[in-house]
Amino acid sequence: MTARRDTGADAPRRGVLYWLKAVFLRLGVLPFLLVVAVVVFWLLSDNFLTLRNLTNVVRQSVYLMIVSLGQMFALLTGGFDLSVGTVLAITSVVGASVMATVYAGGPDAAFLAIMVGILAGVAAGTLIGVCNGIGVAVFGVSPFIMTLGMSSVGFGIALFLTGGVPVYGMPVEFGEFFGFGLILGIPVPIYAAAVLVVLTWLFVNRTRQGRYFYAVGGNVKAAKLSGINTRFTLFITYVLCAFLAAIAGMLLTARLDTGEANTGASMPLESIAACVIAGVSLRGGVGRVENVALGALFIVLVQNGMNLARIESYLQIVVLGALLILAVIADQLRLRYIAGARD
């Protein structure tokens, strides 16, 4: 990527524009959007650039960040996962129901109820990913259809299980710790996200299997000829994506203190937007964990800023969609420029 300079396309003048272009070509549109967003919201609201608010932004971004990490795997291999919202819903509903049931059976065993509930919820959510993985890797269904179909299946099941009614009755400790708990003054969900970001980073950058995601997205035939089990890689892509979304689902359930089938409806769009804004290629093979974390943070930052600036919530949805499209256009321009520099 640093190669731009020696292609000689525009080497002589190195003014501000040159460096801006270099940053754009190397990192994509995210750094620019972050700067613009911070400046705009700082001007619009006095409360925006305060420690308190920024901590708040980070805490709110945890759920999207974790889902986006999973979404990144799907994008890396050249697919995407539209069922992440459904995974959140199923996890929330199943986790909450199981937890409430166990807790009702033995009100003294809150800890046990919480553990069993989390396990059940995460397992239920991950199961959606197992289905996606089998469909995509074994039967060759396109990720679009497979995950779209599963999102309907999962959502239907979540509604069916609860009759559309929120699930109550979880031990209060669950919400108190995983939703609102503080350790050393920092919200518990932030720890969870930090650990997952670090683990994902290690997994992707320091293990063989991590490299294989890039290989499958980069050139699946080349990967096959290099002895990589491409089917298995595709399979665990969707399992991992759902697993991460399920963890986000449990954390969100703790925060809301109810199990709801409507949780996470905006997650597919927002997580794909976070990844794309962070420079993850829709063609597969390109993307960085740390950028994706920033991408998720950025989206929540914008939402937070718009709230502070009292922008109506319906309009916020418009902005989010526009941002996604803008990011893709910027990515296209970037690729076109790089391709042009090559000739």
Partner: protein, 514 residues
Amino acid sequence: MTETDAKRAGGSLTGAAPLLGTTGISKHYPGVLALDRVDFTLRAGEVHVLFGENGAGKSTLISILAGVQPPTAGEVYFRGRPIEIESVHHARSLGISAVFQEFSLVPQMTVEENLFLGAEIVHGGVLDKRALRARATEIIARLGFPLRPERRVEQLTRAEQQMVEIAKAFRSDLSVLILDEPTASLTDRETEQLFALIDQIKAEGVGIIYITHRMQEIRRIGDRITVLRDGRHVATLDAASAEDDELVRLMTGRVISELFPKIRFSPGEERLRVERLTTSDRSVSDVSLSVASGEIIGLAGLVGSGKSEVMRAAFGVDPVASGRVILKGEDVTGASTRDLLARGLFYVPPDRREEGLMMMRSCRENIALPSLDRPPFSRGGFLDRAGEARRTSQLADRMNLQPPLIERAVEFFSGGNQQKVLLARCLTRPIDVFVFDEPTVGVDVGTRAAIYAFIRDLCEAGAAVVLISSDLPEILHLTNRVYVFYRGRIQAELLGEQIGQENVLRHFFEREAA
């Protein structure tokens, strides 16, 4: 360049302006000069054969004439006037139609829809399906092809698709027809039909540019022959008086001693044996071959003759229906690619973009890809980034990667250097049998020489090497044994001294055309 030049270049016999011509035409690609100041003329009513090796510039020349891409320099003349052919559409409107090896058909559409794609017959904004059907039937009948206009293209055989592609050229008035190895997938009968058709349109004054590797076809239909080599015009001869030997010499006449290294073969123990192998899709049937350490065997033949398919099947890429693959004495039939890599068999695919490289990833990652399971690339389940960087940069040095930036994405390197990255891969782990499938497609001469030296070094170090190539000089100069493939079977096995002489080369062409 003036009109008189153009006349002089083409009209030496007839005195009339040629139908189509080029003067000093060049085409640059990044790092490659595909065409270098080529003069070419086509007269009305002649079949002008373009002859040359892969990468000689034939395809580039016809793609310029057909409006696929513009030249970097030089001029194109059409009916005596300079012209810029802007697009394929523009070329067609001038009556210049090309039939490429790569088909431009929409598989889901019918024959007639494909025939008129982009030139649909419309009445008041509505497709006139009846007129379309009538015209399609008329064209097909004239060509004598056994095609039904309402069939969907995806249901047709490759030969039938080829016919549709040819028929497409006839949908409007034709003055120049360009055919790129049109008979590669036709049967003898269909080929005769095509030749009869060519005779017919010749008589109508259509000029035909015809690319072929087959000597028989040149004699059968050619009027003049232009030989290209390394992007340059070498000679234009009369087909009637051209000797085969002469053509072969012109085609391969580079300084062969410099390009191809001397190799000391020392065949030892047998490393790989294929016994009566038949693939599930029958692209290979009943093929047996073997390769020993210290030798290079060549697999020659046309595209689709099975020469590539047999090794792909051996490497676990394509399914085997029957037969055995024996690697170093062990039966590995149907083993996985991963397993075969670990046992010391390596297959380097022909198309680096399609199956070889992750274009947007770095050279480091591309080189290390097949060996991430072993030191120095990984240790104890984790990647060893430092070891990986060290080893890949050593390999990049050994391959003389230019520029030597291993963190740079592969897509920013020239074709030759991309090929070096692909080849560097097979040095990442201990390998006994190397299979190179078209290792020099689309690379410049300098890189070719480097790749040949690389293959020689492997062989002299005691490896068994299988070289699959459509480039005959390559086969002739680098191998000590050659298997010639034809339609999925081995047609001939040539040994030692039979290889390396021009008369053998001619014998090759005859074999293929048989």
